[in-house]
């Protein structure tokens, strides 16, 4: 079991939902408005006057086999636009109920 944390420009939400559905990933947790800034490039997403855009984030816990295809799909989506911003990070899940 792996946890995938996806942080993305709000406007990507529907596309990401489609990707998750396509990968038969049912469960996830989403934060609608989160703020963040990329380490290298990309506009900050602060929801302020200067940087009005905002991020959303999704945390989903999936089987190990599903991780790679999901990351590939997300990477493909990220490649469509330089300015929007989309990142995903994976780590191990110890246990759950």
């Amino acid at each position: 079991m792996k946890a995938v944390f996806i942080a993305f420009d709000q406007a990507y939400y529907e596309q990401i939902l489609t990707i998750l559905n396509y990968a038969h990933i049912k469960g996830f947790t989403r934060w609608d408005e989160v703020q963040g800034r990329g380490s290298k490039t990309g506009e900050p997403h602060f929801g302020t006057h200067a940087w009005p855009s905002l991020n959303s984030s999704i945390l989903t816990v999936i089987d190990d086999v599903k991780v790679k295809p999901l990351l590939n799909d997300l990477k493909a989506l990220d490649a469509t636009s330089d300015l929007m911003g989309l990142r995903a990070f994976v780590w191990n899940v110890e246990d759950g109920i």
């Binding site: 420009d9 406007a11 939400y13 529907e14 006057h49 469509t80 636009s81 300015l83 929007m84």
Partner: protein, 1038 residues
Amino acid sequence: MSLYESAVKKPVMTTLVFVGVVILGLFSLNKLPIDLLPNIETNTIMVLTTYDGASAADIETNVTRPLENSLNTVANLKNIKSVSRENRSMITLEFNYGDDIESLTNDVRDKLNMVKSFLPEGVQEPIIFKFSTDMIPVIMLSATAKESLPALYKILDNKVANPLARIDGVGSVSITGAPKREIQIFIDPLKLEAYHLTIESIAQNIRMENVNTPAGTVDIGSDSYSIRVNGEFKDASELNKIIVGSTGGKTIFLSDVSIVNDAVEERMQESYTNGKQGATIVVQKQSGSNTVQIAEKVLNELSAIKKSLPSDVKLDVIIDTSDSIKETISGLTETVLYAFLFVILVVLAFLGRWRATVIIILTIPISLISAFIYLGGTGGSLNIISLSALSVAIGMVVDDAIVVLENITTHIERGSRPNSAAVHGTNEVAVSVIASTLTLIAVFFPLTLITGMAGVMFVQLGWMVTIIMTVSTVCALTLTPMLSSQLLRLNPKRSKIFEKIYLPIERSLDNLDNSYAKFVNWAVRNRKKVVIFATIFFILSMLPIGFIGTEFIPAQDNGRVAATIEMPVGTRMEITKKTAEDLKQLWQKKYPEIDMINYSVGQAASSNVWGSLQNNASNIISLNLRMLPLGDRNRSMFEICDSIRADLDNMPEVSKSNIIAGGGMSMMGGQSTLDVDVFGYDFEQTDKIANELSKRIAKIPGLVNVKVSRGEYTPEYQVEFDREKLAINGLNISTASNYLRNRINGLTASLYREDGEEYSIRVVYAPEYRQSIENIENILIYNQQGQAVRLKDLGRVVEKFTPPTIERKNRQRLITVASTVSGTTIDKAVSEINAQIGEMSIPSDIYLEVGGTYKDQQESFSDLSILLLIIILLVFIVMASQFESLSYPFIIMFSVPFGISGVVLALAITGSTLNMMSFVGLIMLVGIVVKNGIVMVDYINLNRERGLGIIHAVVTGGKSRLRPVLMTTLTTILGMLPMALSNSQGSEMWKSMAITVIGGLTVSTVLTLVIVPTIYAIFAGNGVKRTRRKMRKDSLKV
């Protein structure tokens, strides 16, 4: 879910809500009446009281004063004016705009009932009219007839005037120039004397003979019969057989002492249309009713009426005021449509995409049409003001949608899907869109709070624009994102033809962006030079201010001229008629622009309301001229009027003339009038002052039609009875004067009935016996003992001159020296007049007051000036709260003075005046010009927040905001351009407003683009220095 999110997610609901609004709006539009202006007329009630035979002075003391004293207590009264002239007293009560005229009328009626018993005998019941004298007739009809001419009055009265008067909103229908039938009994006083008869006894006899009496019922057999005596005359000739007395055992018939004449009234007014005699029917409307609706109803009714008239009676419309209103409104509608077209072109040129243009343009009809719902709901009308509001708003409603669409496009270009781009793009700009709308509402909403004359004009404008702007913002936040999500595509393909046309535009816009960026770069590095240059420009631009005159409401060329021409007092009607005929010939030849000439000559009958309101006498010609439509003639109405005035000045037989361009529409766009009221009781003193003043005013260039309201003194014979002699003979003044009156004026003995109509039977001395002073002196007066005394034994007849009219205002006598402003402006004229007044020596009990249009203008201008200050303050408040800063709004406010320079320059160059409309344009300008500043400063701030240096932030901010600023400015300017250029009827009204806005906006935008970045740089630079200094100090402390 936010508003825009649900709008994007529910396209069907969003679409249908707006479809519903549009349907409701179109439904209201369909029902909206058309009018020239919003209901602008003063609420006036007029009380007309007739007392036949009384002179002006008698009327004043016996009728006008008691009525005035009682009417003065009516609630909400603003002014009470009266004119007492021979035979009638006319009191005009002026109320505030918007008072309920119905309840006031009831109030007036109650007061009249209270005072009625104090009026002298013989005073007829006061009549209340719900309109004022300065209201022009709605429709004037001419009636011509051949065989039916003698009966024309009755025919017109029954079949035309009565049905028309029943139409809702019609104030009065008057017939001028139709002969009125009357049975006259012309008495020979010598025979009367010989038979010891009096007029009173003859009248009594006639009255006794001319009766029908029901005598009761009798039962005969099984039936009941009523018994009647039908004594009424069946034919006028029966009067001859009446026995009026007996002498020496012989009966005296009426025919023995008199001639019975079945004829028409002795003194009558004759009326001619294009040289043909006939009757003129004048329809006037009540205060506050709609001209176009009434005209329509009247014309509808007329087509039915025409069928019922005898075949030789022809009715024609001479003047239909609704025509010019309709023309004005259609002219203005045209400009609104042109504005719509221009705005579409501007949007397309800047965006270069069809779909985006369609999305933005859709906001225009939706928000404009929604304003019709407001108009329909509040009983408003389509008029100059409400249509101007549409024209003003048309360029501004797209602004919000443009901002929203632009941001959505940016999001799409960044890679968002249209759906989410619409939601998030709107979300980002929603607050600033609402704030910029608020600045505009801060300008237009206060307009709804003004009172008085200016209020009546501009409340509608304020509400309309406020509503339109609000709806456009709602539209921009819901419909625009929804449509964007459905229609916008990333980099849509352009067709080749479009590419070909659009590429040069795109390239020049890019070039403009770059050169502007260079210029701003130079400006922020040379701040001092820019500030000095701007200051010099501002000072220079203020120089022409002295050349701009002020005016109340611009005069409109509606092609109608009313004129009153007076010959010397006492001129016989035949001679007056001849002069009128000559004038008609002359003018028709000299001014081919004149389409119709209608004139009437002579004394109006007392039953003729319209006639009795005008000056009328045998020496007065009242003319109505109608000119060809504005497009078909070269000379303006005002030029022709000036030329007509010159014609009349060259005619020695004309003693006085008054030419009113615009047909006496004194309040609504006629030429401005300037009245100086001279208050004072003493006739002689006030006359002297007024005449001197009028001479001085006549010398002032640009003031024409100078006239003193008190007419020329009419020669009059006064009978001065000696009370002692009267007492000796057992008489008193009232009996004696009644005898006199019955002989000269006549006594209505009874009514002759024929075919259901009633005609008066008037017993009077035959005309040849009332032509000299001897005739009057020889009148026999009988006392109660039956003894006859000649009038000359009871008193004497002296010749005197009395003023024909006595005018009063607020219960004080006054003379008005009126003049028309033609060729100069009101403010200049007033200062000239004041200078002249200063040179005159005026007794202490007389005081002068400048009134007329000037007073209205001053009141309105001071209202509007205060409003301007309030609006500037409100706009500042809105901006300060948006930026959460006091210095940014201050920077932005720098565009306002340059707006004013633009206004001054535009008015001076086009030769327009500062009037109510341009003043309102100036007020609107405050809101419109600061919008540009807001857009720029907002974006420069954003750049700084993103970490750019001041100069870099200013230059890139300026560059990226240039197009939106130019686009919104151009839509507003081009939206107004058709108004400024239009030449249709009535364009004088809205032209100056459009010129003001265009001039102010152009100059201020050009300068704002340079000044605001420069001043921003100065302020921001100072701010940075201050912070650094503070930091240095703090670090030193540590």
